[in-house]
């Protein structure tokens, strides 16, 4: 009888794999169904946004930033505006700051709702996807009501925001918050105790805290490993120090904890939006900033807490109309970098669950 022979083989996961959330290619070396090596290949969505920004005025950079991380475009706009305001030392009116916080937090909830749906869909449950996107629709309607756009808003501008909210915004927003609070019970009932969900997620893709720290991981992924680090509390920007909210953390750092943590964050964000609506002052919504705004020469690194970790931008200005250098930093970049460390020695099907739980989005990685 001929001797049975086994050998490792190489397989491409992506770039058009439905679970890679964009176009990421993972070159997997497999031994049977076990993954023994992962090499991420990125760059399929490289649009040279940083180079484009160098050839635009500061005001024109904001729509470009929208395309950097389109699932939470508000954070990107806020980030760039905040960096430019730090460079030029512009005071932002009180009302504008409150409106920004409302939009940022609503956008975070929308992003986590997408995470909820898409992660479940990757693992094979289609219903949560419909649930998550249904509730997200309410938030997207609020954005559309305010600035006319549903995905790339161009709403937060240097010095403030572009438009005031319409009168029907507040009742609609409170109603949406109430709906999401109610529906969260459904979400948890659907997955939290679901035996298939537990088997697919518990103990899978454990990210130890020290490994996460070494790889510069931030945001919900790191907090699920027990590191209490949130830029909103630890390096406060905007007016986050005025709100009362908790930073949820989890201990195990596996896929299940990353999922639970995001649901916890939705609840905290809902509280922040409510507090901001209650305290929303009257007044101006934009400081006077010329369209040909020229900040003095200097440099700044600004960062915000996004739904995918730290979103940062480094701007160097030479005193001209256009920035000399814009460098964008997204949380997904580091989370994809750590994937080969936590994804090896698991099954291919688990790799899909791990990839989904890291909530990587590729435009943010490739820029």
């Amino acid at each position: 009888m001929a001797e049975l022979r086994t050998e490792e083989f190489t397989v491409n996961m992506g770039p058009h794999h439905p679970s890679t959330h964009g176009v990421c290619r993972l070159i997997l070396t497999l031994s049977g169904e076990k993954v023994i090596k992962i090499v991420p290949v990125i760059g399929y969505l490289h649009r040279a946004l940083e180079k484009i920004c160098e050839n635009r005025t500061y005001a024109q950079c904001i729509p470009v930033m929208d395309r950097f991380e389109y699932v939470t475009a508000m954070s990107c706009e806020y980030l760039f505006s905040n960096a430019a305001e730090k460079l030029a030392e512009i005071e932002v009116p009180e009302r504008a700051e409150y409106l920004r916080v409302i939009m940022l937090e609503l956008n975070r909830i929308a992003s986590h709702l997408i995470f909820y749906g898409v992660t479940a869909m990757d693992i094979g449950a289609l219903t949560p996807f419909l649930y998550g996107l249904r509730e997200r629709e309410g938030i997207i309607d609020l954005f559309e009501m305010t600035c006319g756009q549903r995905l790339t808003y161009n709403y937060i501008r240097i010095g403030g925001v572009s438009k005031d909210i319409p009168p029907q915004f507040e009742p609609k927003c409170r109603e949406t918050i109430k709906t999401i609070r109610e529906k969260l019970n459904d979400y948890e009932g659907l997955l939290n105790e679901n035996p298939i969900w537990l088997v697919r997620n518990k103990g899978i893709g454990v990210l130890p805290a020290d490994l996460g720290i070494a790889y510069g991981v931030s945001g919900p992924v790191l907090r699920a490993s027990g590191v209490k680090y949130d830029i909103r509390k630890d390096d406060p920007y905007s007016i986050y120090d005025r709100f009362d909210f908790e930073i949820p953390t989890r201990e195990n750092g596996d896929c299940y904890d990353r999922y639970l943590l995001r649901l916890d964050e939705i609840k905290q964000s809902l509280n922040i939006v409510e507090q901001a609506l209650d305290a929303l002052p009257e007044g101006d919504i934009k400081a006077k900033v010329s369209p040909n705004f020229k900040p003095p020469a200097g440099e700044v690194y600004a960062r915000v807490e996004n739904s995918r970790g730290e979103l940062g931008v480094y701007i160097q200005s030479d005193g001209g109309k256009k920035p000399l250098r814009v460098k964008m930093r997204g949380g997904s970049f580091n989370q994809l970098q750590v994937l080969p460390e936590i994804g090896t020695d698991c099954l291919v099907a688990d790799l899909v669950a791990i990839f989904a739980s890291l909530d990587i989005i590729l435009p943010e990685v490739d820029r």
């Binding site: 070494a214 790889y215 510069g216 690194y301």
Partner: protein, 156 residues
Amino acid sequence: MTFDELKEYISANYPDDMTLLDTGRCEPFYEVKAEKLVAVCKRLRDDEQLKFDYFCNLGGVDTGERMEAVYSLASYSMKLRLDLKVILPHENAEIDSVQEVWPAANWYERELWELYGVNVKNHNNLTRFLLPDDWDQGFPMRKDWDAPDFIRMPEL
């Protein structure tokens, strides 16, 4: 530790290694000499008072006359922020890899090499990843790179 205390601490403990740059901003930018970079980074990470264990960002800058590498650091436990800047010549720039200090730097350094042409010494995997594998048109983030109207698609 506030920013002023951080400045004082650094001027007292790192007098020869780090020079404060006047960028007029609220967060301190320090210049570090290229040959001292790895040693200074290691000290900053292991310093009990600072613990800069979080590698946030590395960006190259081409000012037209020189290259700069800007490292943004933070500390998870001490809640501090710091930026380091290494000034390099425009041509044949070389810098040491800091991935032994922070593994997170690996991909950022690849990007610095790929888009700016700064050679990163002691890097374990200096290969293309944002640009196509057969890219042969120079370093696109440099200021003297002329953006063409059309870019050849990679052959399939």
